[in-house]
Amino acid sequence: MAHNRTLEKADARRNMLFVLPMTLFAVVLVALPLIYVLGTSLVESGQDFSLGATFTLNNYKSLLRADYLQVFFNSLKLAFFTTVLSFIIGYPFGYCMARASRGWKALLMMLVIIPFWTSALVRIYGWKILLQANGPINAVLRSLGLIEKNIKFLGSYGSVLLAMVYCMISFMILPCHSAVDKMDFTLVEAARDLGSKPWKAFIDVTLPLTMPGILAGCVLVFVPSVGIFYLADIMGGGLVLVGNLIRDQLLKVRDWNTGSAMSMVLILITAGIYLVYRKSGGDDLGVF
């Protein structure tokens, strides 16, 4: 018995050693900076987070302005539309990919993976060239006689949305694909045998069974979409998103305390979304 316990202890010690680097990484590179941001957001304007700094909630109170709330709303709205569109396009794509023959599956998977090999910035500039007023898309539309004057796509809300969906959609496709892939299709066959129409079988069987994948996809698309602002800037959207607001507060106004408070609110929103997702039975996404 005693011998066994020593072994267990040795095991525990060895496990500790394996966990240690990861823990150090998380504490030094994630937790400490976040604590510093939190601290900075809680001390008076112009002060660093250190001993002797004056505690205040004013930085958070100063965020309660109609225009700032509008900015947060803008970001959430853009993230919402991005998620909905990613789902509408990504789910059928993931579904077909899962149901396709081996050769097709490999091809489709390649189409999803290969864009990751190039920087998103480069690909978005590619879209800009396609969409510009004297660019290829307008040329095609003109030669087909569909339009007379060039359409100014760039700078519109639609062009921003396109860029967002384009960059985010793989995070929807992959979980949806794996959910459909893992599903037991004999259940759909059973439903069909019992007289269910194809679309009814889809709604009653496939959709609920793949819901975990859909939810995971929605969280993976929505959460980063709230924080991204450079895509809107590149497409010339002129939108003010939370990211723009935080950047300008930190670098232009140089008020780090209010900027930190904005960052904390953004972190709380995303953490809140994730918590709701976990409470409603979502998978752990490999995050915690």
């Binding site: 004297n134 800037d233 939108l239 003010v240």
Partner: protein, 351 residues
């Protein structure tokens, strides 16, 4: 236990080596430059300097003046030997005590500079900053799209220009443009005047198609916009792509900017930095810099050796006729800076 001890020993020795290295750095033949990507050309400027002096140049980049300021404050004015940035941030950096004076016994050719570009607010006594290039944001438009002749800022409000403008996505520059159109200073902090400017900016909304900080010339060349208000190099690039475009020197007044070099207060290789400043001020090198960067040259001696094609281009040379109308965007206190940001945020939200 022995193993752990050996490991610790190895770590201590490694850190000892690292300390030794920082000590040696003082007399190393190295120069650490910190500026925007592509702001000092390698093959025509840095490489010849390296060959002549044997000094190895490291080139680190920042995306914005503000980022530079934060990084330089974080290292307490150390790490970098030469920084190239814009006038208003140069002033903030000098006021924060993060600059050291250049060595006039090494930088002997400072007098090559045109006196119109020295003694400015960011360095009143010509002790800290060596001006590198200068620019003026101008209006450039496509006469095949815009029928009206544009002469100044106030023409941008013309209803015929609906959805055709491209403006710079920056609070100070664009609100400054509105202030100039009202005959006011770009640096006013008067609440009533700023409120008036905000209202005037609001009435420009219908004409704006795109807001972007850089590369507005692309939208002009691609036909997405008909009029752009943008910085000197982008005006020149637009003209390269489409020589039929028209450039306007706004009659109401001009914005003006100088990008200059300085040595941070705790620069590890200050002597090398002084040698580099001397090198950049040579007429033939300063000429190459202006030609490469597509900016106006503050170096009078350089303009004597610069290419004829450059001198034939008004967007580079027209500045000298309008020197008295040009106004800098100054650095303001956080509270006043906030006033401009607030107007800008409200405006963009209403787009």
């Amino acid at each position: 236990m022995k193993k752990i001890f050996a490991l610790l020993l190895a770590l201590v020795m490694m850190s000892a080596c690292a300390v030794a290295e920082t000590v040696n750095q003082k007399d190393e033949a190295v120069l650490n430059i910190f500026t925007w990507e592509g702001y000092i050309d390698y093959s025509t400027v840095i490489q010849p300097f390296e060959e002549e002096t044997g000094i190895k140049v490291n080139y680190a980049t920042f995306a914005s003046n503000e980022e530079m300021y934060e990084k330089l404050s974080a290292v307490n004015g150390g790490d970098y030997d030469i920084i190239l940035a814009s006038d208003y941030i140069l002033n903030a950096t000098r006021e924060a005590g993060l600059m050291q004076k250049f060595d006039a016994s090494i930088v002997t050719n400072y007098s090559n500079l045109n006196p119109d570009f020295t003694g400015k607010f960011f360095d009143p006594a010509n002790e800290y900053v060596v001006p590198y290039v200068s620019g003026i944001p101008l209006i450039v438009y496509d006469p095949s799209v815009v029928e009206k002749e544009i002469k100044g800022f106030n023409d941008l409000w013309d209803p015929a220009l609906a959805d055709t403008l491209g403006l710079i996505d920056d609070a100070r520059v664009t609100i400054g443009m509105v202030l100039l159109s009202m005959g006011q200073s770009m640096n006013t902090t008067d609440e009533a005047i700023l409120a008036e400017a905000a209202a005037k900016l609001e009435s420009l909304k219908a004409n704006i198609h795109v807001l972007e900080y850089e590369n507005l010339h692309n939208y002009l060349v691609s036909g997405d916009i008909g009029v752009a208000y943008t910085f000197t190099p982008f005006v020149a690039m637009a003209l390269d792509a489409n020589p039929d475009l028209k450039v306007v020197w706004p009659e109401e007044g001009l914005g003006f900017g100088i990008d200059g070099l300085f040595i941070p207060v705790n620069a590890p290789h200050a002597k090398n930095a002084n040698m580099f400043l001397e090198f950049l001020l040579r007429p033939e090198i300063a000429a190459v810099c202006a030609e490469w960067q597509y900016y106006c040259s503050p170096n009078a001696a350089a303009l004597e050796v610069i290419g004829d094609w450059y001198k034939a281009r008004p967007e580079f040379m027209g500045l000298f006729d309008r020197m008295d109308d040009a106004e800098f965007v100054l650095n303001l206190s956080p509270e006043n800076e906030q006033k401009f940001q607030d107007i800008w945020t409200t405006f963009k939200l209403s787009l």
